[in-house]
């Protein structure tokens, strides 16, 4: 199955197998105020041995996307469309019962809050062994032996004696390790990690991230990392999809997206982080707050907070289109590329975008942004 892997990434000619391909994913939530669309046409690809970050603020639909991938949506949520292709199988087309077979052997998920994700009334060994009993038909004794092996793999000291301990007897970091162990028990091809370190202290966070990297390399898993932390994305992910109000507004290789953001929201987020700013100096911030799901405007989802918004942004929702990278950025990683102040009337969508202006590169694969003014957005 090498066909999908021919896409060239980030300028390096390293190509990896696409494990997960999500297209036009849509999730509706039924609320007492009517049905709202929480995830709207989201698409991305995750490759073996790589980490894709879904980045966004609370309410942007990133966790909803994760739950839709894992097939564990709340009862009030409906999959309203799209494909979730995992190793050639479209999970979205399967019945819930058929999907169960994938949970564990093909796909694992790590949740944010380990204490609520673990069952308090069973020893961790029982919970760790569950996957082996259900999917491999092992006996309780055999499953326990596997659980001990797993605990070793994720770095829990004295697994033989701790296998019978209950979740509350572990520290936060150890609980997260147990949760990760459960997710990788059957060596899945895809690991979804939903804010796996948000509740942890930074020194423990660093340990957990190190563990996830190690497991990713060992099993050549594709990792979908859901986070709101730009720094975590910068350090851990290969590619990033930035979400806003249920939509992916920009995606591509992390270094390119962060060095040369082409959506005003991405740029605004990056500028909100107090780095490279003089102490106490005014931070650039994004005015206002994200729209309510009940109240998503037609046109661009970001229009109400966008410094570039014009009439077309209110009239027409921009599609995710390939963006041109600029040479200046590649050279120095500088913030602004002065030679990119080109005509605003050049339509990215039509014709050959590469031919529109000189001094820039042709669109790179996997580098997309949903903005009518993506060319200008780095000069906001």
């Amino acid at each position: 199955m090498k066909t999908a892997a021919q896409t060239v990434l980030t300028g390096q000619s390293r190509a990896r197998d696409v494990v997960l391909s999500v297209r036009d994913l849509a999730v509706d939530i039924r609320t007492h105020r009517g049905t709202v669309r929480a995830v709207n046409g989201v698409g991305f690809e995750a490759r073996a041995g790589e980490t894709l970050a879904l980045l966004g603020e609370s309410g942007c639909g990133k966790s909803m996307t994760a739950k839709a991938l894992a097939g564990i949506m709340d009862p009030v949520c409906d999959l309203a469309g799209g494909e979730i292709v995992l190793n050639g199988t479209d999970l979205a087309a399967l019945t819930p019962k058929e999907r169960l077979k994938f949970a564990g052997p093909e796909l694992g998920i790590v949740f944010q809050d380990a204490l609520t994700a673990l069952n308090p009334v069973y020893p961790v060994g029982t919970q760790l062994g569950e996957a082996f009993r259900i999917h491999r038909g092992l006996s309780a004794k055999e499953a326990k032996a596997e659980a001990i092996e797993l605990m070793k793999r994720v770095g829990i000291p004295e697994p033989e004696s701790r296998v019978n301990s209950y979740p509350h007897q572990f520290s936060g970091g150890m609980r997260q390790r147990i949760l990760i162990a459960m997710a990788v028990a059957l060596n899945p091809r895809l690991l979804i990690a939903d804010e796996p370190t948000t509740a942890l202290d930074v020194t423990v966070q660093a340990q957990i991230m190190q563990l996830l990297r190690k497991l990713r390399e060992e099993g050549q898993m594709a990792v979908v990392l859901i986070t709101h932390d730009l720094a975590v994305v910068a350090e851990e992910a290969d590619t990033v999809a930035v979400m806003y109000a249920g939509n992916v507004v920009e995606s591509g290789p992390v270094s390119e997206v962060f060095n040369d953001p082409r959506h005003p929201y991405t740029k605004g987020l990056l500028e909100s982080v107090p780095v490279h700013v003089e102490r106490g100096a005014h931070l650039k911030s994004i005015a206002g707050s994200p729209p309510e799901l009940h109240d998503i405007p037609s046109g661009c989802v970001y229009q109400s907070r966008c410094p570039l918004a014009q009439d077309i942004c209110r009239a027409e929702r921009p599609r995710l289109l390939p963006v041109n990278g600029s040479v200046a950025v590649v050279k120095s990683g500088a913030e602004n590329d002065a030679d990119n102040g080109l005509g605003a009337d050049a339509d990215l969508g039509g014709g050959d975008p590469a031919g529109n202006y000189a001094g820039t590169r042709p669109p790179r694969p996997g580098r997309v942004a949903a903005c009518h003014f993506s060319k200008e957005s780095n000069n906001v």
Binding site: V202, T203, A206, K284, I286
Partner: protein, 341 residues
């Protein structure tokens, strides 16, 4: 440094708890904390959960009584005050809490929440007309509309709620505001707005902040000085730039190294990933508390608790670290300005 407004010396607080694994029932949450806060200054307080940050904040709010040590606020010890003087002291130290969804009473309007402190401090704004005018003024100061006074907390976003929390803390015209993780519950884009607001208010009012946070990037941006806590002790303190650029305590260096950085130049940095987790404060290690996770620890670290040592700060400001083997320079800085401070 500006004149010290608040001085803390050798503050200790022990809690009595149910038996731990080792049979210990005394939890030393604060074990000899010494700090100063200058007027109009921001002191950043960092450390992992369980290190005693919140106990320190609560003690400064007089919600806990220290077992030993002194707090001096403009020359007086607040723990000796009674009656009106105590009331006045309480007015001068206020707090903003972490979770803006839990810290505002859902049954009160924003205006009532902001005005509630005046129910205790009646003399401040005696007439209802004055109080209403002041609520409107405070709402505008924190970037909300005067008409928002009638709304209930549920009608506001997280960032707006935190603004209400700040307005409530400002209602008593305090000299010190303890900010306990004031932006960690907020989304990034909103976090910057609130940090800007806090900065503007400090410029305008000259209020001092004790800024508790686990986010080193934020602390570096807001704090004039920073104190690093570990298991009930301040293990390093100094000017923010000095501590961040030249950490002397291995824990400080590790903490900084562990916190992820928004640096996409692709340069891989050597990270210090500490092994293990924070030991239980019920059974802190002997000698230096950090020795169980420290890569520089030697025999002496288990035997003798290190005294605070003055590290050489390039600009002559006080930089203290409690370590037998303080780091020279972690990042191999070139300008080794080892000139005696």
């Amino acid at each position: 440094m500006s004149e010290p407004l608040l001085q803390i010396d050798g503050l200790c607080k022990t809690f009595h708890v149910a038996k731990s694994a080792s049979g210990n029932t005394r939890l030393k949450a604060l074990d000899g904390i010494s700090l100063t806060v200058g007027r109009g200054e921001t002191l950043g307080l960092v450390g992992e959960s369980g290190c005693g940050k919140s106990t320190l904040a609560r003690t400064l709010m007089m919600l806990e009584t220290p077992d030993a040590g002194t707090v001096t606020f403009e020359g007086t010890n607040p723990f000796g005050l009674r009656g009106k003087e105590l009331l006045n002291w309480r007015r001068r130290v206020q707090m903003v809490f972490q979770d803006p969804f839990a810290s505002l009473n859902a049954r009160m309007s924003a205006g009532d929440i902001i005005a509630e402190p005046w129910a205790t401090h009646r003399s401040l704004y005696p007439s209802s007309r004055e109080r209403e005018a002041r609520v409107r003024e405070l709402l505008e100061m924190v970037g909300l509309r005067p008409t928002d006074a009638r709304k209930s907390p549920q009608e506001f976003s997280g960032g707006q709620r935190q603004r209400i929390g700040i307005a409530r803390a400002l209602a008593l015209n305090p000299d010190v505001i303890i900010l306990d993780e004031p932006v960690s519950a907020l989304d990034l884009s909103v976090q910057a707005q609130v940090l800007n607001l806090l900065n503007d208010l400090q410029q305008e009012l000259g209020v001092s902040y004790i800024f508790i946070s686990h986010d080193l990037t934020v602390v570096r941006h807001v704090a004039d000085r920073v104190a690093v806590m570990y298991l009930g002790r301040i293990i390093e303190t100094g000017d923010t730039e000095e501590v961040f650029d030249h950490p002397r305590h291995p824990y400080t260096a590790a903490l900084m190294s562990a916190s992820p950085r928004l640096d996409v130049t692709g340069a891989k940095r050597d990270r210090i990933v500490l092994q293990g987790e924070l030991p239980s404060p019920l059974d802190p290690p002997s000698g230096c508390r950090f020795r169980t996770r420290c890569w520089k620890a030697q025999d002496i670290c288990a035997e003798v608790a290190p005294e605070p040592r003055v590290a050489t700060a390039a600009d002559g400001t006080l930089h203290l670290a409690e370590c037998h083997f303080p780091l020279e320079s972690v990042r191999g800085l070139t300008g080794a300005t080892a000139a005696a401070g």
